[in-house]
């Protein structure tokens, strides 16, 4: 058994990872550029991997380190590359992304959602007995809600989709805290599912872009007679 002091250190570092995870989620709601959104998503995935490594050291399970490695391989390397290759450059060079809500309002809403998530997870914490559940469950839950908010307020295809991916990341963030002995096959299959999802959405976005000349999917609700070039 490891020294309890080391466990406390690891636990504190995991809590720090959780805090930064929450911060990056707030950034994902409020950053204006598409490139910035992608970078924040990479940071989010790196933090998820860091938390997985720390938890694998705390619980002594090699499963979680594999989860971390798979996470880095797919979400830090493959998905950003795929998004780069599939999407036109115009998406990345545009300065500002349209939003339904203005940014301070969106941020404050995200904050409210985080508080709600903390309140909701209070009774849920009795389910597990791990020491990491107090950090990972509420932050993962708030990530689910904030990712949903991101998907709701963004009018641009890529940030909208990154909000959905952030939801998936947060679900894993909560999952590795609640069930560290999760079968490996679940994580691996979901990781590849997500990869394929990115590919499909990327191709779809490209088709939308070629057809109507923009990726602002928020404007698709209005009817058009003739595609503007």
């Amino acid at each position: 058994m490891t020294d309890p002091n080391v466990i406390i250190w690891l636990h504190n570092l995991n809590a720090l990872t959780g805090g930064l995870f929450l911060l990056v989620l707030f950034g994902l709601v409020s950053v204006r550029q598409v490139g910035g959104c992608v970078r924040l998503f990479i940071a989010l995935s790196l933090l998820l991997a860091a938390s997985a490594f720390l938890l694998s050291a705390i619980y002594h399970t090699w499963h979680l380190s594999v989860v971390g490695v798979v996470d880095i391989a797919t979400k830090v390397i493959a998905i950003p590359l795929l998004l780069r290759r599939v999407l036109p450059d115009e998406v990345y060079t545009r300065r500002e992304v349209a939003q339904v809500l203005n940014i301070p309002t969106a941020l404050l809403t995200a904050l409210l959602l985080a508080i709600v998530a903390y309140l909701l997870s209070k009774p849920l914490m009795a389910v597990g007995d791990g020491i990491a559940i107090g950090v990972n469950l509420p932050i993962g839950l708030s990530g689910l809600l904030i990712g949903g908010l991101t998907a709701a307020v963004r009018r641009e295809a890529v940030p909208l989709f990154l909000g959905l991916l952030a939801m998936e990341n947060s679900a894993f963030f909560a999952g590795i805290g609640v069930a560290p002995e999760m079968p490996l096959i679940a994580e691996v299959s979901i990781a590849f599912d997500v990869l394929i999802l990115v590919f499909v959405v990327g191709v779809l976005t490209r088709a939308v872009h070629e057809h109507i000349g923009t990726t602002e999917v928020g404007t698709l609700t209005a009817l058009k007679e003739e595609p503007e070039r």
């Binding site: 809590a15 301070p104 903390y118 509420p138």
Partner: protein, 316 residues
């Protein structure tokens, strides 16, 4: 007893002496980053000295507020210096006269009178700058409050001397998420309150874009020197609170000996120098925000501080 009063005086003298130096180092480093030579780091002292020897011009329409404000702007940072740990890690004679909230009030009193004086002159640019400063101020206020309440909730006290002990005993406390998030929020607060670059350009001389500088446009001579010196000291005090209470509470004098207190001065200056390098990197790599984007910047600071609070409140 006598010792503690004496050390308190040393703290005040340190603040008064070294505050212009910090501003000089910041501007010199910024020039070096831009491949220029820049003014000497002692330039702020020379400016203050020169201004003290000049005659003063006072607008005809102005009232007593205009003449009274420079003294207030000069004195309020000194008052705060009495309350916070600048050189020692044990409470000094005046430490229990007021807590961090009191210090915040005293500092904002100076800012309030500076804004009044800017309106008092009748110069059109003064009120513009004053109203902008107030806008930044009231957006920064909730951040300050949440940071303050989280810190005092965590440490169980509102006296800065007691708060600083909490984060480093044991050292693992330093990496608490609430602590790191609080540091980030307070850093953004310093950038906003000190008129640094993402919020305001301290080197800008274009009246329409000024925020902080335009309040002292009408001052000249002795009053201008006092306002400038007070501004340097306010920045120094904010840095002391940030570094000595929140970030790096090491290197402060632990014994009640004269030598130990004097030895703390180079440590403090070294810490400030490290922070100044970070500040210069921030200032050189970001551009100034548009006026209405400041709300977003401080909104982000607010969200950071509330995230720190909830991760502390709900920690199991």
């Amino acid at each position: 007893m006598f010792h503690r009063v004496f050390f308190n005086v040393i703290q005040v003298v340190t603040t008064m002496l070294f505050a212009p130096l910090v501003s000089g180092v910041v501007s010199r480093l910024k020039e070096i980053v831009q491949s220029k030579r820049g003014p000497s780091i002692f330039q702020p002292y020379r400016d203050i000295w020169k201004q003290f020897h000049k005659d003063e011009v006072i607008p005809e329409q102005s009232s007593w507020i205009f003449r009274f404000t420079p003294y207030l702007v000069f004195v309020t940072p000194i008052f705060v210096t009495l309350l916070i740990p600048v050189l020692t890690d044990y409470p000094l004679f005046f430490a229990f006269m007021g807590d961090m909230l009191g210090g915040g009030f005293v500092l904002s009193l100076g800012g309030f009178f500076a804004a009044l004086a800017a309106v008092d002159t009748g110069n059109p640019y003064g009120p513009v700058g004053a109203s902008r400063t107030r806008m930044v101020g009231f957006l920064a206020e909730p951040v300050f409050m949440v940071v303050f309440f989280t810190v005092s909730f965590t440490a169980g006290s509102t006296i800065p001397y007691i708060v600083q002990q909490h984060w480093v005993t044991p050292l693992a406390n330093f990496f608490e998420p609430s602590h790191v998030l609080l540091m980030l929020a307070f850093l953004m607060l310093i950038l906003a309150e000190g008129g640094r670059i993402p919020v305001d350009n301290p080197a800008g001389h274009f009246e329409l874009a000024m925020i902080d500088e335009s309040k002292s446009l009408e001052y000249s001579g002795c009053s201008f020197a006092l306002v400038k010196w007070g501004g340097h000291m306010k920045m120094f005090v904010l840095l002391c609170i940030f570094l000595n209470v929140l970030v790096t509470p090491w290197g402060l004098a632990h014994e009640q000996a004269f030598g130990a207190v004097l030895l703390a001065i180079p440590f403090l200056l070294f810490k400030i120098l490290c922070f100044v390098v970070v500040l210069v990197v921030i200032e050189s790599s970001l551009s100034k925000l548009r006026l209405f984007r400041i709300a977003e910047f401080l909104g982000a600071a607010f969200v950071t501080s509330v995230a720190a609070m909830i991760s502390r409140l709900f920690a199991s």
